[in-house]
Subunit: 220 residues, 2 copies
């Protein structure tokens, strides 16, 4: 929770702790950013009006980091500032809470926001995927087949992982380039084939199917 007014900070902190929440506070934007990055909280509450770096800016910077892509961020704002409300949401905030703050409403809101964050977390993909006898372990970057561990190179693994992320779906070459190589890299068009070749060599021929003129898909 980031706010430049110590009274408000203390007041809300007290209420949250009473409800059993773990609360970290910061008195300004920079400090807030630092603590957020170090602690990766489940919910971030930002005051909009702050000297130097305001809440909107903190939010913008956080949203640029992949680790905060899904963190729930909410703002505190004086009631009538339409503009900051809009900016807050446009910059990737999930909600805003208007001052003056009433403890019970505030707590309900926090509860709702955290429930949402939980829900979002359930969707999170697991690090291990299992399809048709292959166990793909994202953390170890390995594939296990018939009890045997197959080591894949990074690109090979990323390619396989993409295909396996939606078994049966046909991924076009363009799609594969964008997701595995990124939009800014340009590589020749035989490159994918070669990687497909090596993959098939390692995991077996029949898993990856070519759909001529369209792309590749993982078959189960």
């Amino acid at each position: 929770m980031v706010d430049d007014e110590p009274d408000i900070l203390e007041f809300l902190r007290y209420n949250l702790i009473k409800e059993g929440y773990n609360v970290l506070t910061a008195g300004n934007g920079e400090e807030g950013l630092k603590i957020a990055m170090a602690e990766l909280p489940n919910l971030i509450i930002l005051d909009i009006m702050m000297p130097k770096m305001d809440g909107v800016e903190v939010c913008r910077q956080l949203r640029n980091k992949p680790e905060f892509d899904r963190t729930v961020i909410t703002f505190l704002t004086a009631r009538e500032e339409d503009y900051s409300q809009i900016a807050a949401l446009d910059v990737g905030g999930d909600d805003y809470i208007t001052k003056p703050i009433r403890p019970r409403v505030f707590l309900s809101r926090v509860k709702a926001l955290l429930r949402r964050s939980e829900r979002a977390e359930v969707i999170e993909e697991p690090d291990v995927i299992e399809v048709s006898g292959l166990i793909i372990d994202k953390e170890r970057v390995t594939v296990t087949k018939d009890e045997e561990v197959i080591e894949l190179a990074k690109k090979e693994f990323e390619l396989l992982h993409l295909l396996v992320s939606k078994p049966g779906k046909v991924f076009s070459r363009e799609e594969i380039f964008n997701k595995v190589w990124g939009t800014d890299v340009i590589v020749g068009n035989r490159t994918i084939d070669v990687h497909i070749r090596k993959l098939r060599e390692k995991i077996g021929e029949h898993y990856i199917k070519t759909i001529k003129g369209i792309g590749y898909k993982f078959e189960f």
Copy 2:
């Protein structure tokens, strides 16, 4: 969007449609429930104060259904009703918007809520079309008939997909050329026939009907 005041409903509907959203409205809780179940919207906006079934009750009922487990639900509420706000969030609502409503803030809020729902909707629905026993899956580029998966070549699939996109409609040869081959390619006029032939061979003879002098159509 469910509200018992036609004026508000119309006002918000107008604003949402102007932004390109697809809006369904209902004047009371029951109707809202019915429409929600039939249409499975991405976002549900409920007025809290309504005669008979209020918004909180609608929300509670929706949240009990698995298909609405992750749908984003928000409430409309008069400013000072602390209690309903708390109830709204406790019953599984994701947010509430206070009246009086300001269009720009409202739209920003809706935008933020829908963005969230997108984030959650990684489990997106596949685009499959089902007609007379054929299941055409665009993502997988396959056709399934009697549990059997039929593989089509690219052009064959595109041709079938076009015909199936409007079952019963007669597509002229010219139309087929334009949509499947594109306006810049020139191919002989027996080409379509050949592809139709192969399609019929693969999916069965009776699905595609020739309308002499006009074109082809998909029969259901």
